[in-house]
């Protein structure tokens, strides 16, 4: 008999807002929005306190302020969120190899073989408690026999929910839900389904005229009907673990940085950290972003797509410097950030050699790296490491 | 390129450029700095013609093939970067670099002109800077800017700044006359605006003839024992609170008021509303000089502080009432 799978879906609640609260606990318990300070801007997201007032993501700041006059708004800080995202995945990876990051703030875990005789709920509670006590990250955990039910389960109770959704619960718990709650159904499809009388997930599961349905759902008809019946045989894909969304590092400078040279030094140190981290994860990046916040709390960022993937400090820093010159005028700086994305595993990484640089390159980083590598290979791991000026 | 007009309008700028040419001390880059309409582009083309003219003497001759093509902006050695949507992009500067990386199609010096150089994107400015750092003896750049201070200091330090001053009124008037505007309108617009562009734009407002006529009507009401205020109200109802129109109207009143004073002090060749000299004379006779000056001062105050007036129109009305009282020699 086939063994039941135990799939966890762990979802960070109000992720951006939670990161801001984790960094600055004084923000906690008060309505908080993430977005531009200008009245005409649009909120990226809001915490649960703010949502009680009806404040939502993608809402104009002016409207949010009207609904909730004491709403505190902080600017978006992707580098911070990337850091917390990494913390989150690092924490979860201790429980199983079978971990698949679904996005920056949610993960699927196949715990079938890694439960070690614990009740799934006990384990989920531990994850939730530890993520909160250690990192101040609130999560909801959904548990089910497949990824779909796990995902639906985590959606059922937020924040701090732990919900189990078994096959036998589907009729009772899933079917009464409106059809737009079905994970994966597009907002444009929903009105069409309503038109043919499908209002709830149950309506879809039991819809008799499959051919009629095919008009709207196409080749996704069967998969969606199966999901509505609580069936999903998708495997967890741990390979996706390696496909980090991004790796970055940022730092705030409370007294502000005033001198251009200071800023470049700070960026150098951030870039070195990013390069190190990419190498630790055996990754190379194709997209590079530099972020800065001025002393007036104006956020600016700029990205560039590199000609080829890289994790070399010199190659990254060359672009960092260029982006920074574009972003920065003369103002003092409160925050600097360097982040990389479009990552690929280093094993697939190739560098086209250049006839005019081939000889020059061998002299600088290349040689050093090679020497480090060969010594480390000789004596096992990490005998030598590049000295990093960590801030 | 109207060389005479240019010579008249920007004698100092031309002298600077010509001196550096004649002494063989051409700079690799110049910044022509001045307001819109101060003939910076004309001067840049003059500079190009000075370098490329085929004549031996009296360069630029304005008649040779090089001069004519520079005037038509078709000379291959003169590269002209226009700004798009008030921006000069990196691609434009790259186009220059691309061209300069090749030998010249025609022999002689190459000149590039960048319009609105103060609106270069940082990318474009950096590309240009690289270029200025490795100057080529046969390539000269002219950056046209309203405000040189907004260019990168590293660009400024590599260029010679040539200031362009606002045009003399008479130059604008002559320009407009040559372009076929009526004498009265040319005079009017040149009094009100400091560049031909602004003057043309003013005259493109169809209401201008009506407004000029309105001013005369309001003043004439005094002679006919009518209320200037009522005449004004009757004719300006449709202007409502159109601030720009009221601004223009005020400027026109000021000109008329000045004319009255010129008539009073018998300085009649300064008069703008010369067509209405009869009315002007009859009115000026009745006012005292002090009365005329008092009204003018009120008008000028309103003009200077117009942005502070919440109810501009009310302030305007008060001036007309004052005008009526001074006409009748009433005291406040």
């Amino acid at each position: 008999m086939q063994k039941y799978r135990v799939i966890f879906h762990v979802d960070l609640n109000a992720f951006f807002a939670s990161c801001e609260e984790a960094r600055d606990p004084s923000l906690r318990g008060r309505p908080l929005g993430i977005g531009p300070s200008s009245e005409r801007g649009i909120l990226t997201t809001a915490n649960y306190e703010a949502r009680k007032y009806g404040v939502n993501s993608a809402m104009p700041v002016s409207e949010a302020k009207r609904l909730c006059p004491e709403l505190k708004i902080v600017p978006v800080d992707f580098a911070l969120y990337n850091e917390y995202s990494e913390t989150f995945f690092d924490y979860l990876s201790q429980y199983t190899e079978q971990l698949e990051p679904a996005s920056i703030d949610e993960a699927y875990l196949d715990m079938t073989d890694d439960l070690e005789d614990q009740h799934p709920k006990t384990l989920a509670k531990r994850m939730q408690d530890e993520l909160w006590s250690r990192h101040r990250l609130p999560v909801s955990v959904g548990i089910g026999p497949n990824p779909f039910l796990a995902k639906m389960a985590s959606d059922l109770k937020k924040p701090f929910g732990i919900t189990i959704l078994r096959k036998r619960d589907v009729q009772e718990k899933l079917w009464p839900l409106p059809i737009d709650r079905l994970h994966g159904i597009g907002s444009k499809t929903v009105p069409n389904l309503r038109l043919i009388g499908i209002d709830t997930i149950g309506d879809l599961a039991t819809f008799p005229e499959v051919e009629k349905l095919r008009k709207f759902l196409g080749n996704q008809t069967e998969p969606f009907m199966n999901k509505a019946r609580g069936e999903d045989d998708r495997r967890i894909d741990p390979a996706r673990k390696d496909r980090h969304q991004s790796i970055g590092k940022s730092k705030t400078y409370e007294g502000f940085l005033h001198e251009h040279d200071e800023m470049l030094e700070a960026l150098k140190s951030l870039t070195r950290r990013v390069s190190e981290r990419l190498k630790e994860h055996e990754l190379a990046a194709r997209t590079l972003t530099v972020q800065l916040r001025t002393s007036d709390y104006e956020n600016r960022s700029r990205s560039v797509t590199l000609e080829q993937h890289t994790n070399h400090f010199y190659e990254l820093f060359e672009e960092v410097e260029r982006l920074f010159e574009e972003l920065h005028g003369t103002e003092a700086v409160h925050l600097l950030g360097v982040s990389t994305s479009k990552l690929t595993s280093q094993s697939g990484l190739v560098r086209q050699l250049d006839i005019f640089e081939a000889s020059a390159e061998e002299k600088d980083e290349g040689t050093l790296e090679r020497v480090l590598k060969s010594i480390n290979r000789h004596y096992g791991k990490d005998v030598l490491k590049r000295g990093v000026n960590d801030e | 390129m109207d060389k005479d007009r240019l010579r008249h309008a920007q004698p100092e700028a031309l002298r600077m450029v010509r001196n550096s040419y004649e002494r063989g001390r051409l700079s690799h880059a110049y910044i022509f700095e001045g307001d819109a309409g101060t003939m910076k582009l004309d001067a840049a083309l003059f500079f190009a013609a000075l370098l490329l003219c085929e004549a031996e003497e009296e360069r630029p001759c304005g008649r040779c093939s090089a001069c004519r093509r520079i005037e038509h902006q078709t000379h291959p050695n003169v590269l002209h970067i226009r700004s798009e949507k008030q921006q000069v992009k990196k691609e434009s500067v790259q186009r220059l670099q691309d061209d300069f990386s090749k030998t010249a199609l025609e022999s002689g010096q190459k000149i590039y002109i960048i319009e609105n150089a103060d609106f270069m994107t940082p990318h474009a400015a950096n590309a240009l800077l690289k270029f200025l750092e490795e100057p080529h003896p046969d390539i000269h750049g002219i950056l046209l800017a309203e405000d040189a201070a907004s260019l990168l200091p590293t660009i400024r330090s590599r260029a010679q700044i040539v200031p362009f001053h606002p045009l003399p009124r008479a130059t604008i008037e002559t320009t407009l006359l040559e372009e076929g505007y009526e004498a009265f309108h040319a005079r009017l617009a040149s009094e009100l605006k400091s560049t031909p562009e602004e003057a043309r734009s003013l005259l493109s407002d169809e209401r201008i003839p009506d407004m000029a006529d309105l001013v005369e009507t309001v003043y004439r009401a005094l002679l006919e024992d009518d209320s200037p205020l009522l005449a004004f109200e009757a004719r300006t109802r449709d202007l409502g609170r159109d601030r720009d129109a009221l601004d223009t109207l005020l400027a026109l009143f000021i000109l008329y008021q000045k004319d009255l004073i010129y008539d009073k002090i018998e300085n009649r060749n300064q008069i703008v509303y010369a067509e209405h000299i009869d009315t002007l004379e009859r009115l000026a006779e009745t006012f005292t000089l002090e009365g005329l000056i008092e009204v003018l001062e009120r008008m000028l105050t309103l003009q200077a502080r117009q942005r502070n007036y919440v109810n501009f129109r009310l302030a305007f009305d008060n001036i007309l009432l004052l005008m009526e009282r001074r006409y009748r020699h009433e005291s406040d």
Binding site: Q352, D354 | D98, S101, K102, T103, L105, E106
Partner: protein, 374 residues
């Protein structure tokens, strides 16, 4: 100006001149075709500023009634001539800068451009042009120009460096990832010359050169190069600056040498390259020289799979085993310009440039930089 001209002859020459006609240019005069009618010739001139073409028509196809010069809007003029019926076109310059075109029952009036705005093109011939036969010239271009850079950030690399010294002519192109070099011996000795001709100009030139044994005159001076092929003059601007010294970048000693059948090698690399194309980047293939005298060409794509092709070299492999990776595009483009059916690939190391030569491609070498896989 007033002439009658055979329509087909006119069109034929216009289509040659069209290669240098500007379509988008800030200078409207360059959108025109210049027609100069002399006592017994019609000269057609076009220019897009980078290249300029001048074609002379002087045969019985022509009947000149009145000489003169005009500038016609290029695209319209060619379209009109193309669509005309009849054998003979008659063109008359009218009042008010108009051109009247009559043929068969058509009667068309075209507004002319201002001739005064046309650049003063220097189709000047030099005293001692280089003479080279058309076929040789074409093959030099074909074997080098493809390796020029298409990026403008190092303008000099967008050109082919042509250096003449005595009887030796050397053409080099590189985009810094691969390099192509061709040397020929000239029948006569010439003064030393070293110029960089834009690759794009040369690619246009081979489109209009006949592939025959007739000789083409090449007039080079400091600022331009002029090719003269009978009645066609082709003028190009040059790239300014000094071409980088490449001789010392080409390895001289090759511990590993493998002779391949060119077709077999191309097929194997093509197949491997198909699979590994990475989001729009060049596909990377690996070449593995095995102990057993077999060469393995492979590529690996985590998403799609793995290809492995085995090739048996034509001769015994000289040297030790080696693994090297490179962009398939560079190898294929290099192989394509060989006339030889067997090529020798010579290696010095895994991250060192390798070169390709062929027995029947005397004086040519293709060099490719490998990629470094970490």
């Amino acid at each position: 100006m007033r002439i009658q001209v055979n329509k087909d002859r006119l069109l034929y020459h216009l289509l040659i001149a069209q290669k240098a006609l500007s379509t988008k240019t800030p200078n409207p005069a360059l959108q025109g075709i210049r027609l100069d009618v002399g006592d017994n010739e019609l000269v057609i001139t076009t220019s897009n500023s980078d290249i300029s073409i001048r074609v002379t028509l002087e045969d019985d196809a022509l009947e000149i009634e009145k000489t003169g010069s005009i500038l016609v809007p290029g695209k319209y003029f060619i379209d009109i001539v193309r669509k005309l019926d009849g054998q003979v076109v008659s063109m008359t310059e009218g009042e008010d800068n108009l051109l009247r075109i009559e043929a068969d029952r058509s009667d068309i009036t075209l507004n002319l451009l201002d001739l005064e705005d046309y650049p003063n093109l220097q189709f000047k011939e030099t005293d001692s042009p280089l003479e080279i036969n058309a076929r040789t010239l074409k093959s030099i271009i074909r074997q080098t120009a493809f390796a020029t850079s298409s990026l403008e950030n190092r303008p000099i690399l967008t050109g082919v460096n042509v250096a003449i010294d005595g009887e030796d002519l050397k053409a080099i192109a590189t985009d810094s990832y691969r390099l192509s070099q061709k040397r020929i011996s000239l029948p006569e000795s010439y003064d030393p010359t070293d110029v960089i001709i834009p690759g794009r100009s040369l690619e246009e030139l081979i489109k209009i050169l006949e592939s025959n044994q007739e000789s083409v005159e090449v007039h080079i001076d400091q600022n331009r190069v002029l090719f003269k092929d009978n009645n066609v003059l082709f003028l190009s601007r040059l790239l300014e600056g000094n071409y980088p010294e490449t001789d010392k970048l080409i390895p001289q000693e090759f511990p590993i040498q493998i002779k391949f059948n060119k077709e077999q090698l191309m097929t194997a690399v093509e197949r491997a390259g198909l699979l590994s194309s990475r989001d729009g980047q060049n596909s990377i293939v690996k070449l593995d020289v095995r102990q057993d005298n077999v060469v393995e060409i492979s590529s690996n794509s985590p998403e799609i799979g793995r290809v492995r092709e085995e090739i048996h070299p034509v001769d015994e492999i000289v040297g030790s085993p080696l693994k090297i990776a490179f962009s398939s595009k560079y190898l294929l483009e290099a192989l394509r310009v060989f006339n030889s059916s067997e090529v020798t690939v010579k290696f010095t190391g895994e991250i060192r440039p390798f070169i390709i030569t062929g027995e029947f491609d005397e004086g040519m070498l293709q060099l490719i930089l490998p990629v470094k896989t970490d």
